[in-house]
């Protein structure tokens, strides 16, 4: 049945358009009007106009929102599939249409279209391929034919200089996720009818939540091709179609629709806060007796638990009501060899979190002792892991404690806990925090339960060693 009325999903008058509110802005013989009408009819027939959200691109169809009486977005050049993704991930029941030209989709927007397709976003993409930039003034498009004259290929497109025409349906075919890929042509009335079927199929599959559909439509541009409308339809059939084969590339629209991505129930208010709070809250165990602000540098190599030792110390400080900061070495440096953490514990608000001149250095390996020994403030303390550092602290204007941390940890059955030996020694010698405080923190800070017990034993063994040596 042939309908001669304007589909109801078009506005009655195009009020967003300036002058001429009864006619479109498209040129005589342009294919956009045809495709617009096929889409608009389908939206009415499927009764989905109320929930349709339409992406207008940059190009001649930049003003598609003049015409479609649906929810409308105007998008940046090439970005319509990304905008459509944002819409798709927000409006679960919307019918999302991305409508793009060849400069927009096949040129500046290749990344966005490929990844929206690859995610299998449940949306329908209409790609109007007329082998030229229209709105911008007849420049070469990625789909321009070799030899075709445009304002930027005045002597014809050169394959050597400009590459050849890019087949986007073929590109889509290389991606696993799309459920429907077809190229159609407006070259003949039969072609228009096939286009009508493709438009409907692409929308139907989205309504059935099947996934991503891509319909490439070869379309005439008489003005920029510098032809009359009839000649341009013939040129479309004779010249474009051989380069861009008109065919169905994929149609997986039969059978059960794939199961939808199941989202969790949205947590709000108290439930959400509970999730955020988790079980990591630090309960204050005791009032701190700290007098002097502690500028602690813990240094060693990756794998010695440098960063976690620092965190543990900071948590201990918080548990005793102190201000605390922890600053890591990070990035490639962290993944290479040396690692260090800066921790400040103070009764006062902490200004700079950077520790340039520590009053506490915990050196877990020789390079760290060499690097930082001279920076330590006079009267400060250096703790040395004597299991692997075979020299003593050379300065005499500060306190030096040597403890075989790796050996004590190894004897306790957990070599990785050498950092805990060092922290224990630091706290036991200086009284910065109570050793009891860190014992109380261990169960919530160490993931594996058997490690908690080993750590606790290693803390005790460290204390015993220091007593035996007469250090405390």
């Amino acid at each position: 049945m042939i309908k001669h009325e304007k589909p109801k999903s078009f506005y009655d008058t195009f009020e967003r358009k300036g002058a001429g509110q009864q006619v479109s802005h498209y040129c005589p013989g342009c294919g956009h009007g045809t495709v617009h009408k096929l889409i608009a009819e389908a939206l009415v027939d499927f009764d989905v106009a109320d929930r349709t959200v339409f992406m207008s691109p940059v190009g001649c169809s930049v003003f598609a929102y003049y015409y479609f009486d649906v929810g409308n977005f105007q998008c940046a050049h090439g970005r319509a599939p990304a905008v459509a993704t944002g819409v798709r991930r927000t409006l679960k029941d919307a019918l999302v249409i991305s409508y793009q030209g060849d400069g927009d989709l096949a040129g500046i927007g290749t990344a966005e279209i490929i990844h929206a397709a690859n995610r299998g976003e449940n949306m329908t993409v209409f790609f109007i391929n007329n082998a030229i930039y229209g709105m911008t003034g007849g420049q070469m498009a990625p789909t321009t034919l070799v030899g075709q004259k445009t304002t930027t290929t005045p002597t014809g497109r050169s394959e050597q200089n400009d590459g050849g025409p890019l087949g986007m349906a073929e590109v889509m075919q290389a991606i696993k996720a799309p459920v429907y890929i077809e190229r159609v042509s407006l070259g003949t009335p039969q072609g228009v009818l096939k286009t009508r079927r493709a438009v409907r199929k692409g929308l139907q599959y989205q309504i059935e939540k099947r996934g991503f559909s891509f319909i490439e439509i070869l379309s005439p541009c008489p003005i920029n091709w510098k032809m009359d409308p009839q000649t341009s339809r013939k040129w479309l059939t004779d010249k474009l179609e051989p380069v861009f084969p008109v065919q169905s590339f994929r149609d997986e629209g039969t059978g059960e629709a794939p199961p939808a991505f199941r989202e969790k129930r949205m947590l709000k208010g108290k439930d959400l806060l509970k999730l955020l709070q988790g079980d990591t809250a630090i309960t204050e165990v005791t009032e701190s007796t700290l007098e002097e602000t502690q500028y602690v540098k813990i240094a060693g190599f990756g794998g010695q638990g440098i960063l976690s030792a620092g965190m543990f110390l900071a948590k201990g400080g918080i548990a005793e009501g102190l201000h605390a900061t922890w600053l890591p070495s990070y990035g490639p440096e962290m993944r290479g060899g040396k690692a260090y953490a800066s921790v400040i514990l103070s009764k006062q608000l902490i200004g700079s979190p950077v520790v340039d001149l520590p009053n506490v250095l915990i050196a877990m390996n020789l390079p760290s002792l060499i690097a930082f020994e001279d920076d330590v403030q006079e009267g400060g303390i250096i703790l040395v892991n004597s299991s692997i550092i075979d020299r003593k602290v050379s300065r005499s204007d500060l306190r030096a404690v040597h403890i075989p941390a790796s050996d004590i940890a190894k004897e306790g059955g957990l070599i990785a806990a050498s950092n805990m030996v060092m922290i224990t020694a630091y706290l036991a010698v200086t009284g910065t925090l109570k050793v009891d405080t860190i014992k109380k923190l261990l169960p919530q800070s160490v993931r594996r339960k058997e490690h908690v017990d080993k750590n606790l034993k290693i803390v005790d063994a460290s204390i015993a060693y220091l007593k035996q040596q007469g250090v405390i």
Binding site: Q74, L272, W326, Y330
Partner: protein, 353 residues
């Protein structure tokens, strides 16, 4: 409630969820990646959307789509990625879509390195993309403020229909501090201008295009009035030992932390120093700077850039007093002593007016 030890970057994610964020679109980059990690951990499990985009260009356009659909949306990046988002920022501003973007600054130009700089100031505070637009810019200086400012950013974004940027830096993002999760849990409300894919919103259009110059001029003027209103209503700063200060540091983020310590040291040496810490960079706290300048205090703009914020400080001081510029570049940050010594030297050289 209890305190938690967390990185500034993790605190952003907590603040975002408390502020009612439902969508995170992002692309990983050091030193901002923990924000994406945290969002990936918390958003899906609480029924929200986390999507790793193919690029920052795509991410900011996903924001555009989701914000236009009425959601509370966010992304996070660092300089090189934020630059890629400039295109989208301009469109967000043109279409007046509320959105929250976090920039954890690293050092540039180009790939630079991953250590802190504050050299994205002009890009973020002055706009970055094309057109006469501005973003509200919040400048946290602690993990707690990373949480609180992000939470607040979502309500500001909705109130003014603007992009709100959190301008942070590698140290504030990477540093761990105690954070208390306090305040109400906020939620976005239905917006009469957004597209919801339903009958009620069917006639709505999200766009930044105005073909008629007169209409675009009007739109631009409306934006400027909006920004003037924001300047009236949203300025925030924190004074530290400011009242009697003869020398006033102006600094934000990590630099403000260092200056706080410098103020204490200078006071111990008998120099009456103070700190004016902008918590909003747009709108910029011009008023307190003008007041300090009027009473003849020497003002020292301290930042990890070649004087980007100092330009705003000088404009605010209106030539009423000496303005000095201290800048560190390339990921190098000053020690407290460096600032103290340089200040003492400069004061001896020029004296206090």
């Amino acid at each position: 409630m209890g305190k938690r030890l967390m990185k500034g970057n993790e605190a952003v994610v907590h603040g975002a969820l408390m502020g009612g964020a439902t969508h995170f679109f992002g692309y990983p980059i050091t030193p901002a990646s923990e924000i994406a990690h945290g969002a990936a951990q918390y958003f899906p499990v609480s029924g929200r959307c986390f999507l790793q985009a193919e690029s920052e260009v795509a991410a900011v356009n996903m924001l555009y789509g989701a914000a236009g659909s009425g959601a509370r949306v966010m992304t996070a990046s660092s300089g090189p990625g934020f630059a890629l988002m400039s295109e989208g920022l301009s469109y967000l501003a043109g279409a007046r879509l509320p959105s929250v973007l976090v920039d954890v600054q690293r050092a540039g130009p180009g790939l630079g390195n991953i250590w802190p700089e504050q050299s994205d100031y002009n890009m973020v505070v002055k706009g970055g993309g094309h057109g006469n637009y501005k973003n509200i810019v919040l400048a946290p200086y602690s993990a707690q403020e990373m949480c609180d400012f992000t939470r607040r950013a979502f309500s500001l974004a909705d109130t003014y229909r603007m992009t709100v940027c959190i301008l942070s830096d590698a140290y504030i993002g990477q540093m761990m501090e105690p954070v208390e999760l306090s305040g109400d849990m906020a939620e976005g409300k239905r917006k009469d201008w957004a597209v919801y894919g339903d009958v009620k919103s069917r006639s709505n259009l999200i766009t930044s295009i105005y073909m008629d110059p007169q209409l675009l001029e009007k739109h631009n003027h409306q934006l400027q009035s909006l920004y003037a209103q924001v300047e009236e209503e949203c300025v925030a700063y924190e004074p530290y030992q400011l009242d009697d200060a003869d020398v006033v540091f102006a600094a934000y983020g990590i630099t403000a932390r260092i200056c706080m310590s410098a103020v204490d040291k200078l006071r111990n040496q008998g120099v009456r120093a103070g700190l004016l810490r902008p918590q909003t960079l747009f709108p910029f706290p011009k008023e307190p700077i003008a007041r300090a300048a009027d009473r003849g205090a020497v003002i020292i703009a301290v930042e990890l850039s070649n004087g980007m914020m100092a330009d705003d400080v000088e404009l605010a001081a209106k030539g009423q007093s000496r303005v000095l510029r201290y800048g560190w570049l390339g990921g190098v940050i000053p020690t407290v002593d460096e600032i103290v010594e340089r200040t003492v030297r400069d004061l001896e050289r020029g004296g206090v007016q």
